[in-house]
């Protein structure tokens, strides 16, 4: 959809949706932001207020037969979870309007704009954020503890509890469906099955809580974005995911997201959750996160083959090799410890 078409549709819709909430009469300065291989992100002005539109530009029917939510929730469910998170003190944007897949705009939601830096290559290295970085691992632990405290009975019905056994079966089904092209991903899945931790109770996980999906200002954590991979699972999963190599953006010596230390993350988590997972379990989930990234890359390739998405999605399919490399490095490290 062209920016002009989208602007016209939004102008028709938002007058009513935003009446009494956000002053303004029409959309101006609609611009697609780069990044986001799955959903489109657009920034726009309504009056003098900056807003963000998340929009899914394609039908997920082509891969609906695959279990699990590697592609992500519907944007309608994602908006519902963000609204639930506003009941905690986790910084999330206000949701102003939600459109389902039958709407002419397409499946989408409109949310507030939170000021802050999201680009990791800036806030991970720039001196401006030095204080922020020193606080951020603890703050991320605090935020995850709060997210995990959300009452799962209030979630949309699509976000149900699961077990490790089901997760392994879903991963195996994907590896087969994607043509069994990676002996390393299969080796990684076998290893994860053979080294699975004891089953832990399910909590609401953000599912994609990582550098790149966090907004950071000079004080630290300013916003938690991109809730599309939200699901239920063991708490340690979110902590391990944040520490995965692929989300350290080159700062491998800082295990928490490329900016912090394990001890601070665990202490922050304990301060709001009242307990914390042990480091070994967190590290297990780092390996699981690497496998998940490999499967996401394969999903992007499958989507592109089905005619959904542009060049970026085709290119992301090749980033599977990052996941494969990390799986081998992490398993070797685990076995030598």
């Amino acid at each position: 959809m062209s920016p002009d078409q989208l602007t016209a549709l939004l102008n028709t819709e938002l007058g009513e949706s935003l009446a009494g909430k956000v002053p303004g009469e029409q959309v101006t300065q609609l611009e697609r932001l780069s990044g986001g291989a799955n959903n489109e992100t657009w920034r726009l002005m309504w009056g003098s207020t900056s807003l963000i539109l998340r929009r899914r530009p394609f039908s997920a029917d082509s891969i609906d037969q695959l279990e699990g939510n590697i592609l992500g929730l519907s944007l309608v469910d994602e908006a519902a979870v963000i609204q639930l998170a506003t009941s905690t003190s986790v910084p999330v944007p206000d949701i102003h309007a939600v459109f389902d897949a039958t709407h002419p705009i397409g499946e989408a939601f409109l949310m507030g704009f939170i000021a802050g830096e999201s680009i990791p290559q800036k806030w991970l290295v720039d001196d401006t954020y030095e204080v922020a970085r020193s606080r951020l691992a603890f703050q991320c632990g605090e935020a995850l503890g709060r997210i995990h405290s959300i009452n799962c009975s209030e979630l949309p019905p699509n976000i149900g509890p699961t077990t490790l056994e089901k997760r392994f079966a879903a991963a195996q089904k994907r590896l087969h469906a994607f043509g069994d092209i990676s002996p390393v991903l299969q080796f990684g899945l076998n290893w994860l099955i053979d080294h699975a931790p004891s089953e832990a109770s399910c909590v609401l996980l953000h599912g994609d809580f990582r550098t790149g999906n966090l907004l950071v200002d000079e004080q630290g954590l300013a916003g938690v974005l991109d809730w599309e991979l939200t699901h239920q699972g063991p708490a340690a999963e979110d902590l391990g995911y944040l520490c995965a190599n692929v989300w350290r953006f080159g700062q491998l010596h800082k295990p928490v997201g490329g900016f912090g230390e394990y001890d601070d993350l665990i202490a922050g988590y304990g301060s709001t959750a009242g307990w914390a997972p042990d480091l070994a379990t967190i590290r297990y989930w780092e390996i699981f996160a690497a496998l998940s990234w490999g499967l996401v890359c394969q999903t992007m390739g499958a989507l592109w083959h089905s005619g959904n998405g542009d060049l970026e999605r085709a290119a992301v399919a090749r980033r599977r090799s990052e996941a494969e490399l990390d799986i081998l490095l992490l398993i070797e490290e685990w076995e030598r410890a």
Partner: protein, 135 residues
């Protein structure tokens, strides 16, 4: 080198050079003239040309490594599929003993795959330092 050979070399344009020329066009001419999503994708396109270049250089070595591993782990009738597919399926069926020798193959394979797809990925430097001497 004879004069004829020198002239042939001077007029030849290899696949790598063609890819480099297209990359130069994308980065120097197209990218500054584009904006927004198209500009972003022009940069992606330039990176993709790098993958193509590296795969045509390293692909044969990777294929030979995979074929040797399949030959060793799955002797007899090769059956359908590529060597990586047959190895993956045998792993899924737990028909391969994933011992230290097999792990060594996976590491050497992955050094090549990473060199093709994303040589700047931070973990690759770590892997190169740890594994390069193992081969």
């Amino acid at each position: 080198m004879s004069q004829d050979e020198a002239q042939t070399t001077a007029s030849d344009v290899t696949i790598s050079e063609l890819l480099g020329a297209v990359k130069g066009f994308l980065m120097d001419s197209a990218l500054p003239a584009l904006s927004g999503r198209d500009q972003f994708n022009a940069r992606v396109a330039a990176n993709v040309l790098g993958i193509i270049d590296r795969e045509q250089q390293l692909g044969p070595e990777l294929a030979a490594l995979d074929a040797a591993a399949a030959q060793q782990c799955l002797p007899g009738d090769p059956g359908p599929g590529t060597a990586p597919q047959r190895l993956s399926r045998a792993l899924a069926a737990r028909e391969i003993d994933a011992d230290s020798h097999f792990f060594e193959y996976l590491k050497q394979r992955q050094l090549l795959v990473a060199a093709i797809n994303n040589p700047r990925y931070a973990s690759r430097k770590v892997a190169e330092e740890k594994w390069r001497d193992d081969s």
